[in-house]
Symmetry: C2
Subunit: 316 residues, 2 copies
């Protein structure tokens, strides 16, 4: 697949940070930035811009806050054409913490939002666009968005929002390829002036194939993470994405290097990737937090009991 | 997805046997048979029927030969509606070793063949069909089959072969979903009187999605293996397939149980699943044997060097 317009964003540090309270050391972040830059990847997302009034710097590492000076230390001296991105969550950012683009090493701000919070997301995006940034809206938990709410959100985004890219985010790793096709076609049908993005989770080993499916139906912004590092089952592996995309600007070798040197060892300390409890929450279209709690407990291999506990919730 | 005609075959013991010289102990095979039976899976493939003249019983476990008495010990006393299958390879079977169906616990014989060996496969299938078995042809390494040879093979299968099912086998885990769609449509276009099957490998984490893709385009026989156990990167995980298929005859819970009790521990001793060297051979459409050799060596994490060694083969 070679389509000039396709842009790859590596979210290893940002989504991976959900597994260690965003506490990667500077050396590791620099190695990832070096690899991503050497691989010719378009964007690297280095963390969240969260409010220090809401979250304590004692409890979280620096990539939950992404101070400009920390970012500068992470990239200093490394030759790169890779642009930097940060993510903000609706209701968790102080907009005054974000300087004008000309005073920041960051090129793009991605606003993560549920479909129901789209008005807040639009406000944030337009504010950051005014400050000079490229912007996106990432619609989370899309497998649970009601169709009428999603349609309304997409029309608002097309009409009121300055974001250049709107992402489908399969937060729970619940989508099969037919639903990805449905959603990308829906997005493209409404969002006439915007690009479509795909951010997939790997609970059912479908993150890579769902990303390919989105590309087939004309999504041009795709997220990967090195060795799949990300929350719970993780994300679409960047190395597989580069193996699939035939744009000669990409080079898989720096990614292979950094996996050998940094990620094989890290995987022994930090548990992410395909595990049965994450598969179960994906199959059931549930947030992985119950599965993450299970993995931290003494019942971590009791899969049947875990499945039955999720099936057994009373509901009416 | 609920289509009555879809049949699931669990090939855990057969394909997993490629990782331990088919030397699973009887207790383990019985636990797998119990789980597969409890889950309502249609077929279980228990091993190969290989010639004892070609392979020594000293070097290989019993599931490389599948003596009828061994199979009977594996299933004795377990309530089941699951039919048993064995695989034979062209040029590696003594047909006189295969008794008449009425004298065997086996229901189905699957003949694995390259497209170029299709005449030999047809001979074997028709012989086994005469003996009373259900039969299939599994066309291996299909990512490397030349289109003209494949077309000719499919026409021969339609006209000369008594097999009820013809399988697409992505031996190298090299196919993306567009190629699966292309192949299933080709197969269905020529094989008017036969069902289509899919056997996928997971080098690029695409075994499950490629199996779904085949189902979407009307393949009705699909292979899974528990926890993905199989050669190198393994196969489509049976647990994910059961999560996707909505036929109420299937029950995922016995599969979850046996993974907890048998497969989590086994994975610590036997290495299968997504690993970068297998991803590399999948991306490059190569047999995984070089990657398996790498994993058994002291250079097992030298991914870049391995990639460059495969890229650097002289060719003209």
């Amino acid at each position: 697949m070679f389509r000039e317009k396709i842009k790859v964003l590596d979210c290893t540090i940002r989504d991976g940070g959900l597994m260690n309270n965003h506490d990667f050391d500077l050396r590791f972040v620099r190695e990832v930035y070096r690899a991503v830059s050497g691989a010719g990847i378009d964007y690297m997302e280095i963390g969240y811009k969260n409010s220090k009034k809401l979250f304590s710097q004692k409890d979280y590492g620096k990539w939950k806050f992404c101070d400009e000076d920390d970012i500068k230390r992470a990239i200093d001296g490394i030759t790169s054409k890779t642009k930097l991105s940060i993510m903000v969550d609706v209701d968790r950012v102080d907009i005054e913490d974000v300087p004008a683009k000309k005073d920041s090493p960051v090129s793009m701000i991605r606003v993560a939002s549920y479909a129901k919070d789209i008005d807040k997301a639009i406000f944030l995006v337009n504010h950051f666009a005014d400050k000079g940034y490229e912007t996106t809206v990432n619609i989370m938990a899309i497998s649970r968005a009601l169709d009428n709410e999603l349609n309304e959100a997409l029309h608002q985004l097309e009409e009121e929002c300055r974001a250049g890219v709107i992402y489908i985010v399969d937060s729970f790793g619940a989508l099969y390829q037919e639903s990805v096709e449905f959603l990308v076609k829906k997005f493209n049908g409404i969002l006439k002036t915007k690009e479509i993005g795909m951010h997939a989770h790997n609970n059912q080993q479908l993150a890579f194939s769902n990303t390919i499916e989105a590309i087939i139906h004309d999504a041009n912004y795709v997220d990967g993470s090195i060795y799949g590092l990300g929350r719970a089952a993780g994300n679409c592996p960047t190395e597989l994405l580069l193996g699939f995309l035939k744009n000669p600007k990409f080079d898989i070798r720096p990614i292979l290097d950094v996996i050998s040197k940094e990620f094989v060892g890290l995987r022994e300390k930090l548990e992410w990737g395909y595990l049965i409890p994450y598969a179960i929450t994906g199959i059931l279209d549930e947030h992985p937090k119950a599965a993450m709690a299970l993995r931290a407990s003494s019942k971590k291999e009791n899969y049947r009991e875990f499945y039955e506990s999720l099936m057994g919730d009373d509901i009416d």
